[in-house]
Symmetry: C2
Amino acid sequence: MNVMGFINARVYAFFKPLRLYEGFVVFNDKVIYTGNNTDVVQLTRDLGGNVIDLKGKTVLPGFIDAHLHLDSLGLSLVTLDLRGVKSIDELKKKLKLYSESSSFKWIIGRGWDQELFIDKRYPTKLDLDEVVKDRPVILIRTCGHVAVLNTVALELTGLAAYDEKEVEKDTCGNPTGLIYEEAVQIASRKFMESITINELTELLKKAQYYLISHGITTVGFVSCSLKSLKALLEMWVRGELKIRVRLYVNPFDNELNLVELLRSIGLKRGFGDEYLKIMGLKLFADGSLGARTAWLTQPYEDDQSTNGYPAFEPDNLRKISKLSDELGLQLAIHAIGDKAIETVLSIYRELKNIKHLRHRIEHVSVLRDDELEEFSKLGAVAVVQPHFIISDWWADRRLGSKRIKWLYRFRSMIDNGIPVAFSTDAPVEPVNPWETIYAAVTRGKYDNIAFYDDIKHESINVIDALHSYTYGSAYAIHEENVLGSLLPGSYADFVVVDRDPLETPDHQLKNIKILETYIGGIKVYSNE
Amino acid sequence: MNVMGFINARVYAFFKPLRLYEGFVVFNDKVIYTGNNTDVVQLTRDLGGNVIDLKGKTVLPGFIDAHLHLDSLGLSLVTLDLRGVKSIDELKKKLKLYSESSSFKWIIGRGWDQELFIDKRYPTKLDLDEVVKDRPVILIRTCGHVAVLNTVALELTGLAAYDEKEVEKDTCGNPTGLIYEEAVQIASRKFMESITINELTELLKKAQYYLISHGITTVGFVSCSLKSLKALLEMWVRGELKIRVRLYVNPFDNELNLVELLRSIGLKRGFGDEYLKIMGLKLFADGSLGARTAWLTQPYEDDQSTNGYPAFEPDNLRKISKLSDELGLQLAIHAIGDKAIETVLSIYRELKNIKHLRHRIEHVSVLRDDELEEFSKLGAVAVVQPHFIISDWWADRRLGSKRIKWLYRFRSMIDNGIPVAFSTDAPVEPVNPWETIYAAVTRGKYDNIAFYDDIKHESINVIDALHSYTYGSAYAIHEENVLGSLLPGSYADFVVVDRDPLETPDHQLKNIKILETYIGGIKVYSNE
């Protein structure tokens, strides 16, 4: 039995409505009391516990990142970081340096964006072959939907012989090294297949520590493979899982059909304990704006030949969604373009358990007014990544002046009563929740976002942002009764931060620091 | 948030060492405080809760029945009860009456014991056919290892054409209707296959209510089929599961190989929430003393031609045990005869995770001195059913005067430091925990057990019995930190009883009544 009373703090136990206390009492893994210093001290002493003086610091519920890729995040932490690279030459230099130090057989890099290159062209296999000839190299674009491979990697993944539009060919019919969508998934899968469960466990632990150090106490792990599930169960059984993980599995996992497995046993949404729960399925309705694979109703502004395309044949998406709904598994469907969102909404409209299972739409990037209304009526959950606002600084090129106003409409979602959950899609966007909150509040005001004036009306305040990152994300994973707040009865998942976000100027929000992170009453991180 | 302070009670929060309090505070589903009335009232008021005056009544931790058959128990509650039937004529009359009132297609009866019949013979299919010709009838012997079927049931189960020793034949080679072991399992399986998941859910709910009304708050459900697992998950997802269920699955389930399923996902012991957890596998090393199928080292005293036999080829048992151990699944192996126990101990000795997974031996009926020592050294758990002492009143006939002293050695187990868990094997023995405690304490003293003098030295006191039924059983399911006590931090699973068992004369122990049952702070039963 472990009782702790925290006093002399600014404890934001809840945001809407705002609940501010001087302290709180933790009994084992849960908060049992919030109140003033005197009462907290009294109660803690009565229960034989220790009083901890927080000396005026601010305490918030732990952040819940409702949508990220735990395995890829772990990988990214040992991955060649190509963000901000300004030329193909710089990319080559970084690759060379990394290849000399990495012990992995495969070399994986991530984060390049040809839009930033002075060369104004995509890298090719020839660029990579110049630097690394003997080991497979995969360099994934910032969006995750495009990658470039060297010749060895094209061979090892079998993509050299792949005769689909997702593997780009030069005029002679030879692969250029650039691959898209499905092919990126195949390449990543091949790479993941080469990783053992033990290696994967190490990667997941790196991701866990990184998240905890940023104040994340619970994550929605989307597109979880059977292998990652097994690795997590290994961590779980050894007591090494410290962060709470909620799983949305990839039903198209190569190894075995995970939907069939879940169906065979009859496992349903929410089965598992407070650390690890199975939630449902992650599916895709379309691709990304960056790669012009997001499915729009009208053509892309900067390429009138395409309006993107469905990532999954809509009738099949409908079929597997129906099955998931019947099996009692929650859906989390990726939909970025307005046509993709329209399609998912039309599928959700037909599902019996939509309200009960709280099916989710991930990203919800380009949202029309009519969809906003329909979304709200259905009771679906919008799982958004506010930091996209800053990363997608080129979005007006894709969408043009009319549709840019439909981008990342958090203010409208909240005003229309749509449950909104915050997340980072890490490793796509930075894990740091303050970057996300900063992006949601400022929407590019300080980041030279050219279309800021067109989207600034969708800004939200810090309270809304914190509410979405705590209660909102807890709601998305069906746990708003025990997570996302510090009211009595909640798990004692909280962070101590270096300043009060409600009294921090908006441009400084991303500078807030996590001092300590607690999960279930256990201190899992301290910055000291 | 729900806070309740219980006062003016005799609260036995723990038994070894004894911890007695006037009251306790429940916060939501857990006990957060035990102490005197004044402190409980104060703390409850501080937390904004209600005080409940128990007016001097006795409170005990809820009973944990570590080994029973939840599905069969539900079935038994709608089953023709043949316990205590004194003749084949009486059996026929009961069958007739029941067949006229039951709406089930199949008629299932249970509990007959030919030892009690004045006829001194087994019933046959001809006896049953006389009464019911048009519907299948299965009447299972009290031990569960023998059954008699009518002609329709022999046909429907396919056992009429079964050419094995488990289907008894008359001198002309026709089945007599009597079936044994494997054949009983086939017949039961055929019957269970005819039951829908919805019907099964209804049966499980009947079992749940019956258990709760007897003060059982957690059960180890052994030999759980995939179908029962699915039915439980249905109850779980609908919030209808009120009792805590820990599952030991039958790996030889007809429909699908459950071990393969668990292995495919990587599910391990303990996965699940506080209501429903997957624990491991239930296996069999031998049969029963009643049917002379329990595996003894020396021949049966009353049938020198046999010493029973292994229910499962020992090398295969070793193989599947090793697999289970490697997969992180707890074993629960049925072993009644001393040779069977010896075999299981020799298997357990080789398992890497024996201490960590706390592999169990079920029944442990005939235990030699050398085995007692080995058992203790291994750290295995003995899951026993003390009421067998009274039901097996004929055991000395099977074992003779030397071996009868090896029967149900609870005192020796406890003195040798073997973790002992109590259970009923329900529906084999009565669910009522006071019958079990009575049997463990009195060992037949008041029940005309002929060999009482030979086994009375293995009596235990009420404190040991209560300890085994609470902490002991919680230990067997790896949850002694949160179940089986009312110390702070434990789930608020408790019973209010009509008298103090520690001040009740031994012959009256079985008359103690459950007044109220709470699970996780929720009142799930009241006798009013």
